[in-house]
């Protein structure tokens, strides 16, 4: 039994054979305390889901050790399964032809709940997560948001000691996502020692929900601390958001300007505006960037210093934003 509720030691996971091997996790060591909401933040392909699959006994590590609730995920998988549950975003396990209540009753049976206890629990969860009116609707007829509410309810049926949430708000509208986030935070508090491991690539989600966040990229943990402390480390590095009225130009030259520490860009095709997030050694560099943009005949709409976010922490660590890293991975 180890001190922390979740502990991984130098976990490596390699997919594929020798010549095509992909190192999805490269020596990941993290600890999560009981009662903590812990976030794994990283772009697509960073290794977040791989780590969650190892911790939920769905995947074996190539090397290293992982423990949940003091049990080895490899040698004591059955004991681990009794205290966990997993909710993945963007998918709805269950049977479309059955109603929401019927599906939830079925899943409750996988944890040995008596029918009366299960029904009571389903009723309460349906009220808490606001899907009571759809309890007798076939699952196939639900909207994405309500399907995800049902999935979250499923994940809570067995009162897990640790809930694994893999991109739980993927594809949801802002309001539903907010509601689910708030519910999870409340649930963890109500359970007293309810632990949550959340993977996300939404910065605001990690910031809002997590007691601590680990930033992961290319299978490695780059930093791990409270969101505030991670952001505080950027106090010495000014960050500016520059909006340019063009979505077609190549802004690669910005990151080559001396004094630029990190750079990311977001193009909004609908508004025709590109937002450049630039991290610089000092604010003087911003005016140099503006000059360069003007030389390229690019219209600068605004340039303001901004407060650091978790994305900025990532940019500082990797030199690029999530979008750029994902683009590179896809290519």
């Amino acid at each position: 039994m180890l001190g922390d509720f979740v502990e991984t030691r130098d976990v490596v996971r390699i997919f594929g054979k020798k010549s095509e091997a992909v190192r999805a996790l490269d020596g990941v060591s993290v600890t999560i305390k009981e009662g903590e909401i812990f976030g794994l933040l990283g772009p697509n392909g960073a290794g977040k889901t791989t780590l969650i699959k190892i911790l939920t006994t769905l995947l074996l590590p190539t090397s290293g050790e992982a423990y949940v609730g003091g049990f080895s995920v490899v040698k004591e998988a059955d004991k681990v399964r009794k205290i966990i549950n997993l909710v993945s975003g963007g998918e709805t396990p269950g049977y479309g032809i059955l109603t929401v209540s019927e599906n939830l009753w079925f899943f409750s049976q996988l944890y040995g709940l008596t029918t009366s206890v299960a029904k009571e629990k389903i009723k309460r969860l349906a009220a808490d997560l606001d899907f009571e009116k759809y309890a007798n609707t076939r699952m196939a007829k639900l909207s994405t948001g309500y399907k995800q509410r049902m999935s979250l309810a499923r994940g809570l049926l067995n009162d897990p000691k640790i809930l694994f949430l893999d991109e739980p708000t993927l594809g949801l509208d802002v309001l539903t996502a907010k509601r689910l986030r708030t519910y999870v935070i409340d649930w963890a508090k109500r359970q007293r020692k309810g632990t949550v491991l959340l993977t996300t690539h939404y910065m605001a989600e990690a910031d809002e929900m997590c007691d601590r966040v680990a930033i992961i990229s290319n299978g490695r943990i780059l930093a791990c601390d409270t969101p505030q402390k991670l952001k505080d480390e950027l106090r010495e590095t000014p960050i500016a958001k520059i909006e340019v009225a063009s979505v077609q130009d190549d802004y690669g030259f910005v990151e080559k300007i001396k004094g630029v520490v990190g750079f990311s860009e977001t193009r909004n095709i609908q508004t025709g505006v590109t937002s450049l997030k630039v991290m610089v050694r000092d604010m003087k560099v911003i005016s140099q960037i503006e000059t360069k943009l003007n030389e390229q005949k690019l219209k600068v709409l605004s340039a303001n210093e901004t407060e650091p976010t978790l994305e900025d922490v990532y940019i500082k660590l990797v030199g690029k934003g999530f979008a750029e890293v994902e683009e590179k991975t896809d290519a």
Partner: protein
Amino acid sequence: MLERLLLSLRVVYARLWVRIKGSNRELEWVIAEMLIPMLTLSTYIYLYRMLRAPPQFAGFVMIGGTMLAFWSNVLWNMSAQFYWEKETGTLEVYFVAPISRMAILAGMALGGIVNTTLRAVAVLVLGIVVFQVPIAMHEPLTALLVFFLTIIALYALGMMFASLFMLYGREAWHTANLLQEPVTFLSGTYFPASQLPQMVQLFASLIPLTFGLDGIRKVVILGQGIGDVWLNIVALVIFILVLLPLAKFALSYMENMGKKEGRLTLRWQ
């Protein structure tokens, strides 16, 4: 131990309930599943009548059509189920839960047996009432014994296939396609397998359905007794004793391999 057993029974019942509830909720589905075997049965009965075959041939077809309903259920609804459940994420939920995977398979099998029995009864009623198929059954208990042994052996085979489908996805789908017609042919679904060349009969003896069909036909249509079908019974018991542990082993082996190779929850393979 008792706790684990109770949990397994709960899982078996729940999965059985899902199968029965789901399959009978859509009327079109129920009608199609009953109508198609009935049409096939009618086709063969008219064909045999046109060829002036002995009336027992209609009985052979009726029993064949009944058992074919079970074989199709084993192949498409039992074996393929894990494939679909993987695609929807339901398989992931099963593997994260502290349950026996065999309990899930047993629930699926029992649900499939209950559902298909209803459809199979429709084929029997059509044969006996509409086509006046001659029945010469003297030992109904022997008929039931052979029937249940055949069903257990078939679903044990289905349980084994389920683990293959779970990991191999689309490739296993092709395998099921490949198995559908050859098994129907080799087991003698629409004619007695004894008409096949001896070498072919040897292959046919590797399929539990062959022994089951032959045994049930002997007892129900030809009026034979337990003394005439003991070999069928022994063969079916051997199939069960081999296939059930093999299914458990295959499932555990495939799960481990899936976890090693990362294919257990990999979609759209």
